[in-house]
């Protein structure tokens, strides 16, 4: 068989390879996030992870100095409300990630200035903001599914019990009308 007759097949193989490569790269963030969310338990409630060790293999490159709490969210039935008491004298933050792994919101303990957090995560389509209250923060999620991630720094091992207790005051639930 001549080289000429192979050419279209080789070209088709390369075009297909490029298409498969681009499609998988494009879809990868969604796939990775879906897999991570599936491992994190029931949506719209908070899950408190234990201390990170070499046995912690849920998400890559975890920090052993942080306590992680997660609230996978599903906004298909409306907004959710996240309430948290900020632990004193240590780094704390809540961050929101959409279904494509993008970090679209973050607040830390210093920004909250010691005040409790009252955060409403709105659906992508919600056109009206729920009841405004003093100090209440609204943020619109780009996707219906995503994750709220709380980080609390264990700045001193001897404070572990107090830090752990403080972060367990947080709550994440569908917004009651």
């Amino acid at each position: 068989m001549s080289a000429r007759s192979w050419a279209p097949w080789i070209l088709a193989t390369l075009v297909l390879a490029v298409a498969v490569h681009l499609a998988t790269v494009w879809y990868l963030p969604h796939f990775v996030m879906n897999r991570a969310l599936a491992k994190m338990g029931a949506p719209n409630m908070i899950h408190h992870g234990g201390r990170v060790t070499a046995a912690s293999r849920g998400v890559v490159r975890p920090s052993p100095d942080l306590l992680y709490s997660t609230c996978p969210f599903d906004l298909s039935n409306g907004p959710i409300e996240i309430r948290a008491t900020v632990p004193a004298n240590t780094y704390w933050s809540v961050s929101l990630f959409d279904a494509e792994t993008n970090n679209f919101f973050v607040r830390n303990d210093r920004q909250l200035n010691g005040k409790p957090l009252d955060l409403i995560v709105l659906t992508p389509k919600e056109d009206r903001e729920p009841h405004q209250l003093p100090g209440r923060i609204f943020v619109r999620s780009p996707s219906e599914h995503g994750l709220a991630l709380f980080r609390t720094l264990i700045n001193d091992d001897s404070h572990f019990a107090a830090i752990d207790k403080a972060r367990r005051q947080s709550n994440c639930a569908p917004l009651t009308k």
Binding site: T13, R61, L153, D156
Partner: protein, 190 residues
């Protein structure tokens, strides 16, 4: 060769090549768009939605759920200050002063991006845990035979180090290639 076989071969080889390219560039490859500061590399796109398709795939695989850089700057070192790959069979000395941030930590990770098991259950040093010298600087060793306080235990295999700067100084955020970070000197190898 009949046409059906050619179509089948085109399909199988095309899909395999495409998947291989994704594995090679995204899973095995380094993150695109990075900047270096000595042995420390960071990527300005981490945690933001502004990265291109390839960067976002790479961040999803290697830095899932990372924060944006005004909150945390993540630097990773896969080689020492001399440019040689970090290898757990060698001993290293990390030296310098506290980087400009509210809080920092350095953590060792195995090639699978998870923590390295060790009898002490120690995986990192941080601003709070490290013992400083009188002048304010510090040194810490990275070794498979850890001794003393300022130490990060590793295993007999290649590893990487992640330096986290929480609430970094705005100058670090603006110019992460010229932050005053820490050196990683190779001390001894078998």
């Amino acid at each position: 060769m009949n046409t059906a076989l050619k179509i089948l071969a085109t399909f199988v080889i095309g899909v395999a090549l495409g998947l291989f390219a994704t594995w090679f560039f995204v899973f095995r490859g380094a993150m695109p768009g990075g900047v270096s500061d000595g042995p420390w590399k960071t990527n300005l796109s981490v945690g933001s939605a502004s990265g291109d398709m390839a960067t976002r795939a790479s961040v999803a695989v290697h830095g899932l759920l990372a924060l944006n850089r005004s909150e945390t700057v993540y630097y990773t070192a896969v080689s020492d200050t001399g440019g040689e790959a970090l290898d757990g069979r060698c001993d290293y000395l990390i030296a310098g002063r506290d980087p400009a941030a509210r809080w920092w930590s350095i953590t060792a990770y195995a090639e699978d991006d998870f923590l390295i098991p060790n009898p002490q259950n120690r995986y990192s040093i941080s601003k709070n845990s490290v013992l400083h010298e009188a002048g304010g600087g510090f040194t810490a060793s990275v070794s498979r035979k850890p001794t003393g306080n300022n130490v990060i235990p590793v295993a007999d295999a290649p590893f990487s180090l992640t330096l986290r700067l929480y609430n970094p100084d705005p100058r670090v955020v603006a110019d992460p290639a010229h932050a005053a970070l820490l050196t990683i000197q190779k001390v001894a190898c078998p």
